[in-house]
């Protein structure tokens, strides 16, 4: 065998996998002329190149014939509409090697690439991204600021595709250790924001932690922690969400970022509301409201008012809730934000439903659904049908309720809540098989497991599996200790299990946290069903009396 090949073969045989990849690349390069070798190194720097771009990076024009040979190399491929590129795997090998052995040369090539790209049309996103990318790698003086400014701009203009392309290329350099610090942190932060928008919450959390490891910049740190809170909140992990917001809040205060401070307090209010901690939610909304007014954020102001309306509604203070929603609606209409306006109308529909103003509720919910249709917001349109279904279900119009849940799911199949609610309906219709199918479906989507636990508890209780029902209730209550509805159902499971005294204690506590008539009605229905399945007893009557007493008191 030819010595060159024989030596190389034995070198390969003794190499590990990563060394071997580079040895093959190196051997390919050794078989090229010096001119071509330099051209390959330079060609690896940009994501794509044509002869003009490559000549600019090389600083010495390449002969046409050499360029032709270069494009015929096995690791050079056609890059549609823009020329050519070095294949991803080979490019990574070349860039890693160049950075490790001659960083100065790498940065020189990047500088030339950045200068060339800057002369191209910066309104074309691909050129803009490439300009910023090379500028960062060349450590150009304005590169970091330009990158941050551009990413903020694309984010604020909803140009998420451009923002994603930019963060992807920057993160590629971060991943290989070429970019660190604030730039790495900003790129990871933006990527996490996009992850949150596209419901990739686990990835968002990873990127945010990565960002936090890279920066000490207070503004960025606070934003990352706040976004972590958002990811937790979307996943219904309210304890972690609250911790994150509470951690971010003093930093926003320290750097005097009033709008972010208000957003953080508002988010805390939303966590309290979700956990049925109505008093604390009200305090937070009241705290955030003047800050939003001070910084003239009308959207934030209206969102706080809506939050206050939600608290009133949950406490069955319907008139105050109505006033708050109307107040917010005027602001939304004034600032011409049709999405939040539709949200507000939806809330009014739910309020009328709670007040048992059935016809008005249906018309209002349909009006909100139409607005969402025009806006093109499927998820929220589905929410309207879910609310309609709830209304029918409370009135025991089960066929209409089922049809509305089905419509909600057809419009937007990925909301766990609708399967949880439909499961509840099936349980009320005694169709346990279908209820189980829906519960399984919620587990595949896997958001807000606490309501899935409650549904499982219901199913277990009605199928006379009381120990399981108790266990599911306990798990759910751990996550929602302030929720009266969760606790009252727990009391029923205890009663079914013969733990009468505990059942009374839990029910008494639960009744201090139930406010709305439909919740009392549902609880009385449960009690009747319990008596039917487990047999009538004086304790059932005792609990009924407790509930009715509390109802009448209201």
């Amino acid at each position: 065998m030819n010595d060159k090949y024989q030596d190389f073969l034995s070198k390969l045989q003794n190499a590990n996998e990563s060394e071997r990849d580079w040895f093959v690349m190196e051997f390919s390069l050794q078989n090229l002329s010096e001119t071509l070798r330099q051209a390959v190194w330079a060609a690896a720097v940009p994501h794509w190149f044509d002869q003009d771009f490559l000549n600019a990076v090389l600083a010495n024009p390449l002969k046409d014939s050499d360029f032709q040979v270069l494009t015929e190399l096995s690791f050079v491929e056609v890059y549609p509409e823009r020329g050519f590129n070095v294949h991803e795997r080979s490019r990574n090998l070349l860039l890693t090697q160049l950075w490790a052995t001659n960083k100065t040369r790498y940065q020189k090539l990047s500088k030339r690439a950045a200068a060339y790209c800057k002369k191209q049309d910066q309104n074309i996103a691909a050129w803009r991204v490439e300009t910023l990318y090379h500028g960062l790698l060349a450590s150009n003086s304005t590169a970091k600021d330009d990158f941050i400014k551009q990413s903020v701009d694309w984010h604020n203009r909803f140009q998420f595709d451009n923002l994603e392309n930019l963060t992807k290329v920057v993160l590629e350099a971060v991943g290989s250790g070429k970019l660190i610090g604030d730039v790495a942190a900003w790129a990871a932060f933006w990527h996490a924001q996009l992850d949150n928008y596209y419901s990739r919450y686990s990835s968002a959390q990873d990127f945010l932690r990565q960002a936090l490891n890279q920066t000490a910049n207070n503004l960025l740190v606070a934003n990352c922690i706040y976004s972590l809170g958002e990811a937790y909140r979307y996943l219904s992990k309210y304890d972690q969400a609250r911790d994150s917001y509470q951690q971010a809040l003093p930093i926003f205060r320290k750097i005097k970022s009033r709008l972010s401070e208000a957003n953080c307090i508002l988010a805390l209010g939303q966590v309290h509301l979700a956990l049925a901690e109505y008093g604390q939610a009200r305090e937070r909304y009241r705290e955030a409201l003047p800050i939003f007014q001070e910084v003239k954020s009308h959207l934030g102001e209206a969102n706080c008012i809506i939050g206050l309306g939600d608290v009133h509604c949950s406490l069955a203070e319907y008139d105050q809730a109505h006033d708050r929603y109307q107040q917010a609606l005027l602001i939304y209409q004034r600032i011409k934000n049709s999405l939040v306006e539709a949200n507000c109308i939806h809330k009014l529909g739910c309020l009328y439903s709670a007040q048992q103003q059935t016809e008005l509720a249906i018309v209002t919910l349909q009006q909100a659904a139409q607005l969402y249709e025009v806006i093109g917001n499927k998820h929220s349109k589905g929410h309207c049908f879910n609310s309609l279904a709830t209304l029918y279900q409370r009135q025991k119009q089960f066929t209409s309720a089922l049809s509305a849940y089905n419509q909600a799911i057809e419009i937007f199949p990925n909301d766990t809540g609708w399967y949880q609610n439909r499961a509840d309906l099936y349980i009320k219709m005694d169709d346990y098989e279908k209820a189980e199918t829906d519960i399984k479906q919620t587990e595949t989507i896997s958001a807000d497991p606490v309501y899935t636990l409650l549904r499982k508890a219901e199913l277990a209780l009605w199928q006379q599996q009381t120990p399981q029902a108790i266990e599911f209730c306990q798990q759910a209550l751990e996550q929602r200790p302030a929720d009266g509805n969760f606790r009252s159902f727990f009391a029923l499971t205890l009663l079914a299990n013969g733990q009468t005294q505990a059942a009374y204690t839990e029910m008494e506590q639960a009744l201090t946290a139930i406010y709305q008539q439909h919740d009392f009605d549902e609880l009385l229905d449960y009690l009747n069903k319990l008596a039917k399945i487990y047999g009538h007893s004086a304790d059932v009557d005792g609990l009924r009396e407790l509930i009715l007493k509390r109802c009448q008191k209201d």
């Binding site: 090949y5 996009l194 093109g376």
Partner: protein
């Protein structure tokens, strides 16, 4: 073009072109350098001239307007008119005024209308409009008398918005369509229970059989630095674990045929 092996993958592609194909979605999955793009290009050469087909390379496709430009290539003029009609209808339904932008001329009208439809839109508005347009396009494809093949390469490079469209609208339409066929190659691939039963997944794990490389060496105009060639290729395949990128790079260093 020469391609080493991947016979099973090529066979799956041939089945996709059959009129009675039951799985209209074919997925090629493999790591970098495993030959996905080469396979896609090879597949493209196997398509009869009278079958409409289009290649979408996601390295250079960053927005939906570019995608629709490509998709429109699959439509014959009569179907193109229908599609354009549906697009206009959509703009009218949404009260979008395109009259001010018509100086671009009739030929560019579709671009003008598409631009108007997507200008200043939120993510959710765009998603809704993608669905409507994809359905309109799929209806036109179903009216064709031959299959229409979409080849999508470098899936992993697509941005989230495009991935969502592929994973949802496009593949849902393909699963229900009689004439649409979709081939996607990537290091990672879309997944969905909605169309999974209509898809076939083929992994690319390299070409480990030395004999498969003999015609490639010859097609590349090279000769082995040492005889017998087959023994040499066996050693090479073993060292490179069948990775086509490494093996081709290596073959390129062989001396040219005399």
């Amino acid at each position: 073009m020469s391609i080493a092996n991947y016979k099973e993958h090529r066979k799956a592609f041939s089945a996709l072109l059959e009129a009675d194909c039951s799985k209209p979605i074919l997925l090629f999955k493999g790591g970098s350098g495993m030959g996905k793009s080469t396979l896609i290009k090879h597949c493209r050469t196997q398509i009869d001239k009278d079958i409409n087909h289009v290649l979408i390379d996601l390295r250079t496709t960053s927005n939906f307007l570019q995608i629709f430009d490509k998709l429109a290539e699959c439509l014959t003029s009569e179907h193109f008119d229908n599609f354009r009609g549906r697009l206009g209808e959509l703009n009218r339904q949404l009260n979008i005024n395109v009259a001010g932008n018509t100086q671009a001329g009739v030929g560019n009208m579709i671009n003008v209308e598409l631009n108007a439809l997507f200008e200043n839109t939120t993510l959710e508005q765009r998603a809704e409009r993608y669905t409507a347009l994809t359905k309109a396009w799929a209806e036109e494809i179903n009216n064709l008398d031959k299959p229409c093949v979409l080849l999508i390469d470098v899936y992993e490079r697509a941005n989230s918005e495009i991935k969502q469209w592929i994973d949802g609208d496009l593949l849902n339409c393909a699963a229900k369509s009689t004439q649409m066929r979709v081939v996607i190659a990537g290091q990672n691939l879309p997944e969905s229970l909605e169309w999974e039963h209509c898809s076939e997944l083929k992994e690319l794990v390299g070409v480990h059989e030395a004999t498969e490389w003999l015609p490639v060496v010859s097609a590349m105009g090279r000769r082995t630095p040492e005889e017998p060639l087959l023994t040499y290729l066996v050693a090479m395949c073993s060292i490179f674990k069948g990775n086509p990128d490494d093996i081709v790079k290596w073959i390129k260093t062989f001396p040219p045929q005399q």
